[in-house]
């Protein structure tokens, strides 16, 4: 078991390293004349050269990368080119908003999907057909259209929730809930649709397994067999889909944060992208990659817990 965890951890770190390296080289090599963009078109050549030197942009790319990397491992991701703020502070303060959105959506999708999928797989018939059809719609409609629909219906017309703004959970739980409910719902619908499809399929497969009959023949009720045994066996593929969905949710959060004006990673990314603030963009890439690697690691460990055979291979 320790070797399993260690191996997954190492491959996670390697993935993080490769992603950030490739991202750094692409971002910094393709940037064009950054110093000129920062100091403005009216500045003299000398001013541009001075700025480039100040930012270390006049060094060879490999050296720039090495100095970035050695700082990054200590948690120092440099400063924004435009407002001089520390990238690490900017990213980490906004990360909590995005994490609360994405984790909330992941947990809600997991729970709701399991309930719906069990319902569809056990009942079959018309329940199953309705679930399948609604699932296709939920999967097909882009999440930000759903978010737009929710904003205009619940926030603008019915005024049940605030349309925009964010209240930290540490300030007020109720306030936090009222600001994140709609965004989380908007994010969850597509994920639920995808996870339900997968869980339903693997549940139907698992329900056909011989051990289901044998366990029931030993006096366990159908529900007990479904919730304890069948669900656990169907859990592996479901977790794999959930991991894929989590990555999609991170992307979706960028747009949803914009619609609901939430001060998350998405907002800082959009702003930095518009300006061409490469250190901040790089910081966001690092944070996102780290988040994805961490979640994948957790999912891998959960897979190992669910399925004893995974631990061996």
């Amino acid at each position: 078991m320790y070797r399993f965890v260690l191996r997954r951890l190492l491959s996670g770190v390697l993935l993080l390293f490769v992603i950030t390296t490739v991202a750094y080289l692409l971002l910094y090599a393709g940037g064009g004349d950054i110093a000129r963009r920062i100091v403005g078109p009216t500045a003299s050549e000398a001013q541009v050269a001075l700025k480039a030197h100040e930012l270390g942009l006049d060094r060879p790319l490999v050296l720039q990368y090495w100095s970035w990397l050695t700082h990054a491992v200590t948690g120092d991701l440099g400063r924004s080119w435009f407002n001089g703020q520390l990238v690490s502070t900017g990213v980490s303060t906004r990360m909590s908003v995005t994490i609360s959105l994405v984790l909330g959506a992941t947990i809600i999708s997991a729970v709701v999907s399991v309930v719906i999928a069990v319902w569809a797989a056990v009942r079959r018939g018309w329940v199953d057909r309705v679930v399948q059809f609604v699932g296709v719609l939920g999967f097909a409609i882009p999440g930000f259209l759903i978010a737009l629909g929710l904003v205009s219906l619940f926030a603008l017309n019915l005024k049940w929730f605030k349309a925009t703004g964010y209240i930290p959970i540490t300030t007020s739980f109720a306030g936090w809930a009222s600001t994140v409910t709609l965004p989380i719902i908007a994010l969850s619908i597509g994920a639920i649709a995808a996870v339900v499809q997968q869980v339903r399929g693997s549940l139907i497969d698992a329900l056909r397994q011989d051990y289901v009959r044998t366990l029931r023949a030993r006096g366990l009720s159908f529900n007990r067999v479904v919730y304890k045994h069948v669900l656990r066996n169907a859990g592996g593929p479901a977790l794999a889909v959930l991991a894929v969905q989590f990555i999609g949710l991170l992307g979706g959060a960028v747009i949803v944060e914009q619609i609901f004006a939430l001060p998350g990673l998405g907002q800082i990314t959009v702003a930095a992208t518009g300006q061409g603030d490469i250190p901040v963009v790089m910081g966001v890439v690092v944070a996102t990659a780290a988040l994805v690697v961490t979640v994948n690691l957790i999912i891998d460990l959960a897979q190992g817990w669910l399925n004893p055979k995974v631990r061996l291979s």
């Binding site: 930000f144 044998t214 366990l220 992307g251 990314t269």
Partner: protein, 611 residues
């Protein structure tokens, strides 16, 4: 980032897919929507009433009317005309992404799957890398460096989407690669290019088309998302930039956001529904799946007809002596049927009578498809989905099991009627240890503590002849042998000391040497616990070894029943005699013996010649 269904090769459809889609309700509707949107975009210069980019201060945020069909936006541009022209750019952008994704994914998948080697490892690793980052974040990062070009963004997105095709093609190619006909093509000297073109592309074509529809939908959505954020090229009209413009003016003119949202939604839904419709159609053409059931139901119907004609079963009188006690189980006129899709019921068991006394081992004999397992499952009330008891009663200890509620039946199972399955490995849950699978039902049925259940489970494992109970207790099913697994299942079945044990071919899946040991174990346990046993088998050798009485079944009905001695000495039904003859051959009489000219009389002639 996106979901990749690993569709395996589907045989090419005989009727062209396109024509069959027109007959598929959602498929046809989706095609119509997509066709109309594409047509309107292509014909935009003819249909549009205004130039899409001309600002007109007179009609800023104009309401819908005769001048502006769907109103005008905050710069006074005509919404309807912009919608039409935006279709050109949005669709073209999505097509660029699709083209890049197909080109990279399909070639990569073909080369990696067909040749393997270092290219395989590198590209598989790269796809994993591409799928590990959210597409939106990558696109934003690219935008920061490359500027707001939609075409560049869509090319990059195409690269990000290529794993969807890579994994699909890779899986199909590796599956086909070692097929005999591909080997044959290689041996006959066809070049790799010809083989890939002729044999492999035909296999992956259909799944790639389906995936394309999905990918196109995703590309349209992400492109709209990017422009909605205000990061697109503001000089060209797209649905996404119209959405952005509408969202900014959401309070002033809510309908501005509605039109592009409707179009994007309709196109995305149509593409997904189209992909699903194509998958439906391809799966439908994948050949016959239910032929076997049909055949057996036809045989059962025929059997029912003969039963009605009065071709009654041979019934031997019960022996009055012997240790057998009172009646434990009496099955009277049992019928089992499966509901068919067309509303009819196919009958697999008809008018079966069966009597088991306390402490008696009753053999239920017949070939595959004779209905013996279905009879056993209906006593447990655990018929597979779609199956149900269509008639008769199952009297167990003065209670009709056929009438019990599911809740009452749960109390009977395990504690009073237990079951030993045929295939040991698939009947253990691979996710739990042997010990927990033994303890859980005991705790539920007997209401005992965890410690007591553990003690009992270890004792049971020792009793069924497992050499190191402690180790097996902690093992997972994949860590023990088939023979051991069957002993575990037997231990589980007797763990609550049932009155009736149903063993469904308990030795068929085991090695010959283990078979005898397991039968001995069953006999010992039966002696000790004095259970009634229904032993489902096709093997008269096992019957002779263990049973007190026998019921022979053929095509869903009972043909002969009586004490084991009477059956062996004086079999009345020709089918019983055939089964008995088969033991002389020492082969399992599986398959249709009944009307096969090869089988009738062969054992006798054979032994006549050799002996």
């Amino acid at each position: 980032m996106i979901d990749t269904p690993t569709a395996l090769p589907t045989p090419a459809a005989k009727v062209p897919l396109f024509r069959r889609l027109l007959a598929h309700p959602t498929g046809a509707a989706s095609l119509l929507v997509l066709f109309l949107v594409a047509l309107a975009s292509v014909l935009a210069p003819l249909l549009a009433s205004h130039d899409p980019n001309t600002a007109d201060l007179q009609s800023v945020l104009a309401k819908a009317g005769s001048e502006h069909l769907l109103g005008a936006d905050s710069a006074g541009r005509d919404v309807f005309s912009r919608l039409l022209f935006a279709g050109q750019f949005s669709l073209a952008g999505a097509l660029v992404a699709l083209a890049v994704a197909v080109l990279l994914g399909v070639t990569g998948g073909l080369v990696a799957g067909y040749y393997g080697g270092w290219f395989d490892s590198v590209s598989s690793w790269l796809t994993g890398l591409l799928m590990a980052l959210p597409g939106m974040v990558v696109l934003l990062a690219a935008r920061a460096v490359l500027g707001p070009s939609m075409w560049l963004s869509m090319m990059i997105f195409g690269i990000l989407l290529s794993p969807a095709f890579f994994r699909l093609v890779y899986a199909s190619v590796t599956a086909v690669h070692n097929e005999l006909y591909v080997d044959a093509a290689r041996v006959s000297g066809l070049s790799d290019v010809r083989i890939i073109g002729r044999h492999i592309l035909t296999v992956v074509r259909a799944p790639v088309i389906i995936q394309s529809a999905m990918v196109l939908g995703i590309a349209i959505a992400i492109q709209a998302g990017l422009e909605f954020l205000g990061l697109g090229d503001m000089n060209i009209p797209t649905w996404g930039s119209m959405l952005n413009e509408g969202f900014i003016n959401l309070y002033k003119s809510p309908t501005l956001v509605l039109w592009p949202a409707l179009v994007i939604g309709a196109v995305c839904v149509a593409l997904t529904l189209l992909a699903n419709a194509m998958r439906d159609e391809l799966e439908r053409s994948r050949g016959p799946a239910k032929r076997r059931k049909r055949a057996s139901s036809a045989a059962a119907d025929e059997a029912e007809a003969t039963a009605k004609r009065g071709d009654a079963a041979v019934i031997h009188p019960e022996e009055t002596t012997g240790s057998a006690g009172g009646i434990l189980l009496e099955v009277i006129g049992l019928g089992v049927g499966y509901d068919q899709a067309d509303g009819s019921t196919s009958h697999v068991v008809n008018h079966v009578n069966l009597r088991v006394r306390r402490g008696e081992v009753h053999g239920l004999v017949g070939e595959s498809g004779s209905g013996k397992t279905q009879t056993a499952f209906s006593i447990l009330r655990l018929l597979p989905q779609g199956g149900r008891v269509t008639g008769g009663s199952i009297i167990f200890d003065d209670e009709d099991l056929a009438q019990l509620s599911e809740k009452e039946m749960t109390k009977v199972r395990g504690k009073r009627i237990a079951y030993i399955p045929q295939e040991p490995m698939s009947n253990l849950d691979a996710a739990f240890t042997i010990g927990s699978q033994l303890m859980e039902p005991m705790r539920v049925c007997l209401g005992i503590s965890k410690a007591e259940a553990r003690e009992r489970a270890l004792a049971l494992l020792a009793k069924v002849g497992i050499p190191n109970p402690e180790r097996t207790f902690n093992a997972y099913p994949h860590e023990i042998s088939g023979g051991m697994a069957q002993r575990v299942l037997i231990a589980g079945a007797v763990s609550c000391q049932p009155d009736l044990l149903i063993a469904d071919e308990p030795t068929t899946a085991l090695d010959v040497t283990v078979q005898a040991e397991v039968l001995n174990l069953l006999r010992e346990l039966q002696d000790e616990l004095q259970m009634g046993v229904i032993l489902v088998t096709h093997n008269f050798g096992v019957v002779a070894d263990l049973c007190d009485s026998v019921t022979v079944m053929q095509t869903g009905r009972v043909v002969e029943t009586g004490p084991v001695r009477a059956i062996f000495n004086n079999a009345g039904h020709p089918y019983t005699r055939q089964l008995l003859d088969a033991i002389l051959e020492d082969t399992a009489p599986r398959g249709a013996l009944k009307n096969s000219p090869l089988n009738t009389g062969t054992p006798n002639t054979l032994s006549g010649v050799t002996l």
